[in-house]
Symmetry: C2
């Protein structure tokens, strides 16, 4: 019905800009076989776009930094939820991937990702059963525990299934999950090592409250204090003759702090892959107020689809296109002076009063994301570009897999 001729004839470039029919673009997108066939300009909006040059550079930088420090590298997949990215990290030297939820881990395992670490305890209906099932499939999976009854339950399930399950003790070094470091944690580990079917691996310690402390020196102080409690717990275990050769923690904000702490053996950053405005604002070790160790690779490509006044345009990306948990909005790249505000579920309002080069109806605008992890969770696909060319489409395998 709708032919190339129709589109070329009927759709002036100003408002549609389409150089080929949607029916054709739709087929290419659905096939996943996009390389050499689409440019960024061909994408429908809003699209979640990742710059591959930047992503490769971020992976290489983190991997080589941690290698130079002699630390393991287990990136957190809760950021990207994408098996292809986990694979690329492993190709660069990662030992596996962290997962926040069992559903996320299951889908990554189904896509071939090994070396999974579950960073939260398997408490709640079915989680133990799912853990034993995953461990059966991939025996190198490590499960966090923070409660004695849960340890007993997990052991019993493993015993009945005739399996051995690897566990790490989750330490409450932040205000989130885990058991209190020191004596309570040591007591839990003593309980773990008595179990017939559990293999104690070491310590999981994520100091989430430190990741975004503004100013490198303050962040260093906070993380050294928090991770110091984890290291001290490790020493206490070793003094009791309990082998604890592994201590995993850290974040994009603290990778260059925690990897210098004696006793921390592995770093589990996530956001470094994409970066976001939130991390840009914490300040760098050498770069002052802007933290720029890693490149902003993730954007939402939007279109100005209504222009009720010269002062602003309405973009087709609103509350459903970005996570809004941070107190600052998306930033329009290359539109100096513009100011984005959320304007309902579907719309964003881009204030143009301080902008020299106006944005017109139909124009594309690329927006840097305030907080990457929950924003990625809004999209089924990551559109992978190199410069203006679309290289690939990657599935966000773990999107919505929060159970």
């Amino acid at each position: 019905m709708v032919t190339r001729r129709l589109v070329l004839a009927a759709a002036p470039a100003v408002l549609t800009g389409a150089s080929r029919p949607w029916s054709e673009v739709e087929k290419i997108l659905a096939s996943g076989n996009v390389k050499g066939k689409l440019s960024k300009e061909d994408l429908p909006t809003p699209s979640l776009v990742v710059d591959l040059d930047g992503l490769e550079s971020n992976i290489a930088r983190m991997a080589s930094y941690l290698k130079a420090q002699g630390r393991g590298f287990r990136p957190h997949a809760k950021t990207h939820k994408c098996a292809e990215i986990a694979r690329r990290c492993m190709a660069a030297g990662a030992v596996g991937a962290c997962a926040a939820k069992i559903g996320e881990a299951e889908v990554l395992a189904a896509r071939g990702i090994k070396g999974l670490l579950l960073t939260t305890a398997m408490v709640g209906k079915y989680r133990i059963e799912r853990a034993v099932r995953l461990s059966t499939k991939q025996p190198d999976t490590i499960f966090s525990v923070d409660n004695a009854q849960n340890v007993s339950d997990l052991n019993e399930a493993a015993r009945v299934a005739g399996r051995r399950v690897r566990v790490a003790v989750d330490l409450a070094v932040s205000g989130r999950t885990g058991i209190t470091p020191g004596a309570p944690a040591v007591g839990l580990v003593e309980h773990i090592v008595k179990q017939s079917n559990l293999d104690f691996q070491g310590i999981q310690a994520y100091a989430g409250h430190c990741a975004h402390i503004v100013g490198f020196e303050n962040r260093k102080k906070g993380s050294e204090e928090a991770m110091g409690r984890a290291v001290e717990t490790r020493r206490m275990l070793e003094r009791k003759g309990i082998a604890c050769g592994w201590l995993s923690g850290g974040s994009t904000g603290t990778y260059n702090i925690d990897s210098h702490i004696d006793g921390v053996t592995e770093i589990q950053p996530g956001s470094f892959l994409f970066m976001d405005i939130d991390y840009n604002r914490i300040g760098g070790k050498e770069t002052g107020a802007v933290y720029s160790d890693f490149k902003n690779t993730l954007t939402v490509l939007a279109t100005a689809y209504s222009k009720p006044s010269d002062d602003f345009v309405i973009l087709d990306a609103g509350l459903k296109a970005f996570a809004t948990d941070r107190p600052f909005p998306p930033e329009a790249r290359g539109v100096a002076g513009s100011k984005y505000t959320f304007s309902g579920d579907e719309h964003g309002k881009l204030d143009l009063r301080e902008v020299a080069a106006k944005v017109n109806l139909g124009d594309r605008v690329e927006l840097v994301i305030p907080h990457c992890d929950p924003s990625v969770n809004l999209y089924d696909k990551l559109i992978v570009v190199r410069g203006e060319q679309v290289e690939a489409i990657w599935t966000v395998d773990g999107r919505g897999k929060g159970q």
Copy 2:
């Protein structure tokens, strides 16, 4: 591998509560054939749950109210994105459904929903082509326009395709999309009615800024003022001899205001289906500070999966389980005195210091949602319950269909 015997033997109810193996529950959930087979207690968490008694009551109340006022009822599907809910609204008398984006409309049409109204203009790459395609499939679809060039483009695409396309003029009665009411809008309609292949239907006027004005009288004043400009535009058209028999607008916050405005012919509410904390706070016409015309039917079912201290538990529902655009958090139903705060991507912290009946590790907590539309957009499935029994699983067909 994992049998019922295993789960019963290995998983004490305190921390797992599983009365049947996950392998069985997983199969039932995947089959979609759940009626009589699962109770709410069997669900994995976090799950998005809708109470069917309440939903039916909300639909019946809105439908009968608007019928009594002699107004059309076209619920906005951007709230629920679910063809089954659109179908139930139509069974109760709705004339169709609104959709925010063409992708949402396409998927609803594919699931058999007729009478679609696109509430935002088809500006941006491919949108005109997709509009003509949808119009070809479902000629009763109405497309909003707010720009003369876009009108010409749409007409030309319709002409080449040999189709007639229905359009409504989107009025900027709020600070969002649309053309200025009055003379500019009349000018645009004069342009529309000259087109060879467009059929002018009337006016789309969503006063988004009024929906959440706190206090019924203030809201009434705001909405009458905003919708008054739409009615006046309608009158101007009619004085020029341009038939304009249809004017659609309104929201859950203003349904009982706008449906009393002479000249408004159709109401397009969405949130009344689920309600949320946001709408509860705007105040009702007869109910004072709490707006309770409709029932809160939508919750997230979560599990307490870590308890680092007696003062709080960590729930398995955080930034990825709720939209966070409102300045108030989810509320734990039936846990008086508790206070939820977001605690990262995956976790919610439930403060228990003022709670009499403690929440223990493994306990379920049901949370009322701050803002329904973008929260629904986080989930692939709606779990439909009647009391404690799971009645059905409905697909959130339009989830992520923001393009």
